[in-house]
Symmetry: C2
Subunit: 344 residues, 2 copies
């Protein structure tokens, strides 16, 4: 019976790591010379034939070396590879970068994304906080002048969209405050998603005479909130991938870049990640255009609640160990900063 004994695992590891470095199919001689010097290439060949039969490696064409299959990478990531230990300098660097970022969460995430692509040399993708899942903390209507009202919505993770509402009738400060207070009373603590489903008419009874604001304007505002969640997806460092031989074929490069420009697809990819850190390899991806790619994503949270995710996209021939440790360290810092910045 053919089993995945420890030598086979060593060989698989050797193949994967060599392939990750060189992007060239790995031959038996290379392994016997560079990795398992005590064994002859003939022996390695036999083992490789077995590994191929088991589906962990494949041959691009007859009499070429072997390259890892998605299944091979999966085994590697799950139980073969060594954990990469980030050196202190890098950790320090990440910390420092984060400390220097000022501004809102959005900026923080953008910065993190840029940092990630710079450090990994792959592309990074990120979604801004999904406010839908956060709770309303404060809503305030502010009169700017006679006919313009500014609405500001604050959630437990910070500020969200806010917009200027143009009114037909003029409202004085006193009235606006009154309405604000009423809205705060009724709505604070609700998740923004719920605001959408809310029956506004319940509220109107209490503040009569300002129907325009309540019935026409607010629902629109809430709708805009929902919409804005979807478009806040970024990517950075796409150009990095063009250096890799995987994308020396323009056609492939183009296909990949197209995915990055489709915010809907990216959103889909990032949205359904619930684990802390997730590795998706090649065909495991639901998105067809990403079947040649691997994704390493992590979620970031606030108040114990996941509010978004960020990650790295690259070819399946990715430096998993290195990237995982980077993503891990980065999100740790990110979460840290978030909890500090947003602390109530």
């Amino acid at each position: 019976m053919m089993s995945l004994n420890s030598r086979k695992r060593l060989i698989l590891q050797a193949i994967i790591e060599d392939y990750i470095n060189t992007a060239e199919p790995v031959g038996s001689r290379t392994i016997s010379k560079k990795y398992l010097t005590s064994v002859s290439s003939a022996t390695i060949r036999n083992e490789m034939a077995d590994l191929e039969e088991m589906g962990y490696i494949e041959q691009p064409y007859t009499s070429a070396g072997r390259i890892p299959s998605d299944k091979g990478y999966r085994l590697y990531v799950d139980s073969i590879m060594n954990q990469n230990i980030l050196n202190a300098k890098k950790i320090e660097y990440i910390k420092k970068e984060f400390m220097e970022t000022l501004g809102e969460i959005d900026d923080l995430i953008k910065h993190a994304s840029k940092l990630l692509s710079n450090m990994t040399k792959y592309a990074s993708i990120a979604m801004a906080p999904q406010y839908g899942k956060t709770r309303l903390k404060h809503i305030q209507l502010i009169g700017i002048d006679n006919f313009n009202v500014l609405s500001v919505i604050v959630t437990d993770v910070g500020i969200v969209k806010n917009s200027v509402i143009r009114m037909e009738e003029s409202l004085d400060i006193r009235t606006l405050d009154k309405i604000s207070n009423m809205l705060n009373d009724k709505l604070t603590g609700l998740s923004l998603d719920k605001l959408n489903d809310l029956d506004i008419s319940n509220l109107t009874s209490e503040v009569n005479g300002y129907n325009e604001l309540l019935i026409k304007v607010l629902p629109e505002l809430f709708q805009a909130l929902k919409y804005s969640d979807k478009i806040e997806v970024y990517h950075e460092g796409a150009a990095n991938l063009l250096d890799l031989p995987e994308y020396s074929d323009i056609q492939k490069a183009r296909e990949f870049l197209n995915v990055l420009d489709e915010h809907d697809l990216l959103f889909e990819v990032l949205e359904d990640k619930s684990e802390d850190l997730s590795v998706t390899i090649g065909k495991e991806n639901k998105i067809t255009q990403l079947k040649n790619c691997s994704l390493i994503t992590a979620t970031y949270s606030f108040n114990g609640k996941v509010i978004g995710s960020i990650g790295v996209v690259g070819p399946t021939r990715m430096e998993y160990s290195r990237v995982i440790s980077l993503v891990d360290c980065l999100t740790e810092n990110l979460n840290d900063i978030l909890s500090k910045v947003l602390k109530t």
Copy 2:
């Protein structure tokens, strides 16, 4: 004496337009067959030799056809090409797309950028409104809870950054209103750029006891405003360019994509455009990495004041006429919407 007679101009036009379509050097026979059927190829050859001597066209190598030089394109754009007339459907389409956009200016610009790259099939770049040049209309401090103050800054073109400020000391609503009012009195009408240079200490005398807010927090806030102007540069449709033969060389593609990821560079490019509509061809670009590209940009304004710009980047072999008319139509609509949405 060699002069740029009207036949030479026709030939130059033929060369440029054929080259724009095919990306292949254009030969004398092609021109005599497709464009100037009444003249023989030999004559065309003579004229082409002249055009080359004058610097309007060049030969990639001996005995190849001719391609336009930057100088040739320049002449073409300035005084040869026919103005493209957009068909009604396209105009309608642009109008419709704009009508359906809701949300803030930023979203509007992003949408416009996307629209532009989709319609032109080149890449588009855009900068969000430069608030620095706009005037403060309203500033408001809102207490969210005991230790968090939300500051909102409204300008004459809409909303800008606003941020939650965490305070050491608790401030009640009354106090915040008092400070808000004071700030409004003093600051309304100033351009945001000026806020930075402002001597805060002037203000403190009037509201004693709240030094933390005024001296420590506000300057930081203003600083953040300045910073945020720079990073709001987008690009869309980079992948479009990969379809062009100009970028079949990965190296070139990579170089170009890098520029797009460098927000500082893009900012620089977009910032110094003051004309209504500007065409920059090849080496006319200051940015070295764009010396092979042409740029067609336009500014958008509000209240007669230019607040940002948006444009198209592509190879020098660009469909100038078509793109110019699109950019023109688009910014016209954009300005239109802006003036309606923001009308006070």
